[in-house]
Subunit: 180 residues, 2 copies
DNA sequence: GAATTAACGTACCATGTGGTGATTTAACTG
DNA sequence: CAGTTAAATCACCACATGGTACGTTAATTC
């Protein structure tokens, strides 16, 4: 019922969604208050789902490069969220979102870059991530490139080769052959 | 009068624009037919303006790395189009654009990647662009990274460090210090 | 200056949006 | 089975959007 929200892209109107979901508008309003609450709940739910996947990867026993590769795979070619990353879609249209949703978007972006930073710190400590790139810059770079890949997929482009090339700068020279 | 369109972001409605431009709606329709024709004309005009700048850079007497640096500067920190790149904004919301405008968006993207390809070919011929990255991939990569920088600026982020790091993969190790 | 033509703008239309009050249906309690 | 309460819905509102018919003004021509 309310998981049907995952397929609801940003372009669908509240008016049309509750129609194709078989639920009437006042019910939605009783449950979420207003559209801002609705998008907020949808994004929060989506965040929990995708966060679970990412945390599973980060907590795994993989090697550093393997974790990066898995995250890149998730962003570039995993068919699970084939309708596109809801976070990226909402960030793209964030000025059309309500206040609460905008705050959530910013918070999720911050969490993502923090997660990348932790991964990079771990990689540096174990010596698996060589080079002299600051962790902060690396995390921002990873976040930007993953977001770019998701954006490209939302446009119908194939992000794989570009993402593979972009990740080379982190010193993972095998990333290109691994992904492409 | 019709150059006021450059400041017109995608979020402004036709209804509100002709009001703040002091022109009545029927006049707009007499001139452009429908909203699709309007956005098309606006994007075409913007394309001519920005294309002039890019061509000026490409046709200059600069060294290869200098041209790349100038283009990166144009994308990352030039205040000329401080309201954001209209092409990127329209590409972001391309499914809300009319048919003609969507075709123009695709055509302009193709022209951009062709221009990058020519630049890279020139760089390789003169030996200024080392490495074994195929020209086609390099052009797609440049296009993606420039687009990412413009997207980040549209979101209010500072794209400079990420773009500088991304351009390192092209073998321009000095790009980071030049831009940041 | 009169007549014709071209451009312009007011006022309007149909439609879709987010949001809500009144009413009916359903469930639960005694 | 009767009576109260909770929940879902029908129908509606105000508003904004893209788009247009028609009256009005301005320019042109003789």
């Amino acid at each position: 019922m309310r998981s049907y929200w995952n397929e609801g892209p940003t372009e669908v109107s509240l008016n049309g969604l509750c129609q194709r979901a078989g639920v009437s508008k006042p019910s939605v309003y009783r449950e979420f208050g207003n559209e801002d609450g609705l998008t907020h709940a949808a994004l929060e739910n989506y965040g929990h789902c995708v966060l679970a996947k990412v945390l599973e990867i980060l907590a795994g026993e993989d090697i550093f490069a393997g974790k990066i590769r898995k995250i890149a795979y998730l962003a570039a070619e995993d068919g699970a969220h084939e309708s596109g990353c809801l976070f990226v879609k909402m960030r793209t249209a964030k000025n059309q979102m309500g206040e609460k949703t905008q705050i959530l978007i910013a918070a999720m972006a911050s969490m993502a870059v923090d997660a990348y930073a932790n991964l990079l710190i771990e990689g540096r400590e174990t010596g698996e991530w060589p080079g002299n790139i600051p962790v902060k810059l690396g995390a921002a770079y990873l976040h930007a490139q993953i977001g770019l890949a998701l954006d490209q997929r939302a446009r119908g482009e194939d992000p794989r080769v570009v993402l593979a090339l972009a990740l080379c700068v982190l010193g993972l020279t095998d990333a290109q052959s691994e992904i492409a």
